[in-house]
Symmetry: C3
Amino acid sequence: PGKGVVVKAADGRYSFGIRARLQLRSTYVHFGDSDTSETQVRTIRLNVAGNVLSPDIKYTIQLAFGGNDFDTGSSSPIFDAYVDYTRFRDLNIRVGQFFVPFDRARTIREFALQFVDRQIAVRELNLDRDVGVMISSSNLFGLSDLLSYQFFLGGGDGRNRFTAYSAGPLTVLRLTVRPFGALDDDQESDLTRADKPRLAVGVAGAYNYRTSRAQSTIGTAFTAGTANYTHLAADAVFKYRGFSLLAEGLWRKANTDVLERTVNGTVTREPTRSGHGYFVQAGYLVNSELEVTARWDKLFSRGPTDPALVQLVRTQGKQLGGGLNLYLNGHAFKVQGDYFYIFGSSGVEPRHQARLQLDASF
Amino acid sequence: PGKGVVVKAADGRYSFGIRARLQLRSTYVHFGDSDTSETQVRTIRLNVAGNVLSPDIKYTIQLAFGGNDFDTGSSSPIFDAYVDYTRFRDLNIRVGQFFVPFDRARTIREFALQFVDRQIAVRELNLDRDVGVMISSSNLFGLSDLLSYQFFLGGGDGRNRFTAYSAGPLTVLRLTVRPFGALDDDQESDLTRADKPRLAVGVAGAYNYRTSRAQSTIGTAFTAGTANYTHLAADAVFKYRGFSLLAEGLWRKANTDVLERTVNGTVTREPTRSGHGYFVQAGYLVNSELEVTARWDKLFSRGPTDPALVQLVRTQGKQLGGGLNLYLNGHAFKVQGDYFYIFGSSGVEPRHQARLQLDASF
Amino acid sequence: PGKGVVVKAADGRYSFGIRARLQLRSTYVHFGDSDTSETQVRTIRLNVAGNVLSPDIKYTIQLAFGGNDFDTGSSSPIFDAYVDYTRFRDLNIRVGQFFVPFDRARTIREFALQFVDRQIAVRELNLDRDVGVMISSSNLFGLSDLLSYQFFLGGGDGRNRFTAYSAGPLTVLRLTVRPFGALDDDQESDLTRADKPRLAVGVAGAYNYRTSRAQSTIGTAFTAGTANYTHLAADAVFKYRGFSLLAEGLWRKANTDVLERTVNGTVTREPTRSGHGYFVQAGYLVNSELEVTARWDKLFSRGPTDPALVQLVRTQGKQLGGGLNLYLNGHAFKVQGDYFYIFGSSGVEPRHQARLQLDASF
C-alpha cells in the first residue's frame, strides 16, 4: 500500500513501477480585517520508475499536474526525469532533471514532510531542480554509511527552460557525515522510533555562474543580463525514539545588487536577490500514528537587494508554528494540520495561518 | 475489456487500477449560408483508482487531456481527485474534487451518455465539479435501495481554482427515491433490457454563497464582487425492456442581476446569469447493440440577466433532435451519431447540427 | 526491456500496455561571436496501447509532456490517439489523430532516428499529424510484402485544432514497393545487420484544400483566409549488413503566394510557404552497438514566398554533418552525438552545432 504497482522481470534486468500521489489542502488566513480561505487539489503526481538492462541502470520520471506546479508560460508537467547508474558504490552517476543536491530541507521529497509545507527560508533560498549530471555516494569508502558526498554540474537555469543561453554552469558540492551510521535522513519525523540515537550533519556550497533567474535556479527571468550567485548551506538531522530535530541555515549572495542594460537609450534595471535564513523544527511521535511538531523559521534580506524580498522579510520574515500529524500509513497516507503565527518588523500587522491537509500515495 | 487493468493485493487491503478513454468527434453545422465542420480528438482521459489500507478507503483520480478540457489560464488536467470512506452504509464520506451531487444529467459520467453530448439546459445550469466534502448513502436505512441522499459542502468556486477568497461555501442536498429498487441510474440507456420496470426520482437544492463565477461554479470569473446563487433541480429516470426515459428541470437565480464596483471613479458592471430549463429524452434498444434516441431540450433566461445568456436563449434556446447508437461493448466502446435542429425566437435563423462520435474505454 | 509492461487476457480479446520514454539533450551552437548552449529534458512520452474486444481492434494513445511538445495556446499533450481495425489484410482502417502517411522520414517514429533530430528539409515540408481516416495495407495482395499503400482523408489543419472551419479536406496517397520483401523501414539504421540486401522505395502525393496553417498542417494560423497546398514526396531506404541509406525529396507549392483580406479598409497580407528540399543520409554499424553516420540536407524556397522561409534557406538551408550512436538496447536505450556545419548563401556566416542525447524507453 502506498508504493504503487511494480512489475519485475525474473532475471532482475527490468522493472516498471507506477505510482500516484494526491494532496488536498485547505488554508485559512486571518490578516488584519480580512479572512480568506482556499481549498484545492494541491497536486496530483504520477511516478514511473524502475530499472532497465541491468539492476544498476535505474530510471525515474515524475509528472506534476497541480495548477501551481506549472512554470509561467509552460504547459510541461515534468518535475523529475533522470537515469542513475549505480554500479560503483563510490561513484554513482545521475543524468537528467532532478533536485539539486544542495540543502537537506529542500531535497527531502514533498510527501515526506512533517509540516503541511516547507519553510519560508528554504522556499526563498533553495536550489530546486536543474538539468545536469551528479556523481555521488551515500556510503563513501564503505564506512558503514559514515560519509556521503554529492557533486553536481548543471545548466543552472532550473527546470524546463527551453531557450539557448550563453549562460555558465551551476556547480554544487555537498558532504554529509552520519556518526552513528545509516538513518532515514531523506524523510522528516522518526517513524521508526528506534531506540538508538541517529545523526546526520551536512554542509554544501554552490556557485551559479551567469544565471538568468532572480532566485538563481527559480523565480522570474532576468532581461537585463545575468548574475553570479554564491550559495552556502549547513544542516543537521537528529532522531531518537520518535523524537526528531531538523535544523538548517542557508545563505545566498549575488555578485551585484542590480543588473543594468541600456537598449536604445532606455535603461532597464533589475535587482538581484541576496539573503540568508535558518529554521529549527522538531517533532515527537506520541504513539505510532500521532505526532506533535513545532517550528521556528526566519528569513533575512541582505543590503540593497530586491525590494520585493525586503518587503517579504519585513512582513512575513518570522514564522512560529506548531502542528499535529496523523500517520495512517506512514508518510504514504496522512492527515496534517498546522498553525503559524507569521510576523516581521515591529509595527507590521501579523498573520494567522491555519492549514489542513490530506497527503496520500497509491 | 473497457475496464483497464487492476492489480489487487491478496488480502483486499490494496488495489491499483489504470484505465484510458478516447473520444473522437466530427461536428457539421449548417447555419444560414455557412457550413462549418470540426473533427478532433475531443478528449483522452487517464483514470487511476483503487483502494488503500482497507477495502473501505477508495481513491479515484481522473486526468483529462483534451484541448477543451483545460480551464482558461490553467494547464492542470485534474478533473477528479478524491478519497472515499465507505465503512458506514448510511454515512459514506468523500473528500476532494468531484461532481457536485446536484442534478442527474450532469452527474452521469460522460462515457455513459446516450447522445453525443449533454443538453443545453444542463450545460448552462449544472454545478459541475467543486472541491469539498460529501456525505451520502445510496441505500439509506437498508431499504433495498429505496432511498438515497447526498449532502455536499464545498468552496463553491469550481475546480482548480488557485486563489484565496473571502468567499462563502456551496451547500447542496439531493434526495432520490427508487420505488422499484436498485437500477443503473448512473448511466443513460437501458443496456440491461430487464423485464422489470425501474424508476428513480430525484430532487435537489443548492445555495452558493458569495461565488466568484458567472455560472456559479463555472464560467468567467467576476471582478466586480461576488454573487449568491440559489439552485433547484428535479429529475426522473425510467427504464423497462430496453426503453429508457430521462427528464429533468433546472432553475438558477442570482441574488442580484448586476454586480457593481467603483474603482477610482470607474464603475465596473458585471451581469449575473439567472435562468431555467428542462429536457426530456428517450431511447429504445432495437437489439442488444442498436439504439434509437430522441430529445427535446429548452433553455430560458430570467429577466434582466446576462445579455450573453439572453442571446444564447434567443438563438439556440430550443433544440430538437434524434440519434442512433451502436454499442459494441456497452458504453465502453460505441459509435454514436445524432442530429439536432437548433432554433430560438421566431425570426432567428435556425441551425442544423450533425455529429458522429467514437467513444472507447480501454 | 524498453517495451514497457503489457497485460493480456487469456482469450486474446483484450490487452493493455503502458510505456514511457525519456529524451535528454544538450545542444551547443557556435555562430559568429556567440556561443550558446541549452541542456534540457527534451521530452517525456507516455504510451498506452493494446487491443479491445478482438485481436483486430487495436488502440494507441501517445501523450507528450516536453516543454516544446505543446502547440501555442494549447495545454493538450495529445500526440497520437487512434483506433485500428486490422481484420482485412488489404484494407486496414485507422481513425483518429496520427502521422499523415506522406513521406518516409517524418513517419519514422522519433525514438527510431539515427541522428539526434530530423532533417531541416523534412521539418519544413512534412505533413506531421492530422485527424482523419486512413485505409492501408502493408502487404497488398499478399505478395510477400512487395506492395503497400496508404490512403488518408483528414481535416488538413493538423493536431489539436479546436475551432470550426469552413475548411476543406487533406487527401494523401502513398505507395511503397519492397522488391526484396519485408524490412524494418519504419526505423533508421540496420540494427539487424542481415546478410541480405533490402530496399523500399516510396512515392506520395497530397492535396490540402483550404488549410488555415502556413506550413499546411503545421505552423502559424492564417487570419486572412485559407490556401490550397500541393505536396509531393519520393523516398528510398536501403539496408545491407549494418549499412543503411535513406534518401528523400519533398516538394510543396501553395496555390497563391499571398493571402489578402480587407477588413474595414485595412488590408491584411499573409504570405504562404512554398519550397522543396532533399536529404541523403547513411549509417554503418561498426559492431552491434556502435554506428557512424553522415548526412547532407538541403532546403530551397520557391519564388516570392514567405520571407521568413527565404531567410531560413539563405542562412541555414544547407546542412552537412556526421554522428556517432551507441545502441545499448537498440533504439530503446541509446546515446547519440552529432555535429552539423550549417550554412546557406555565400557571404552568410555559418553555424557550428554539436549535440549529445540520451534516448531511453522503459
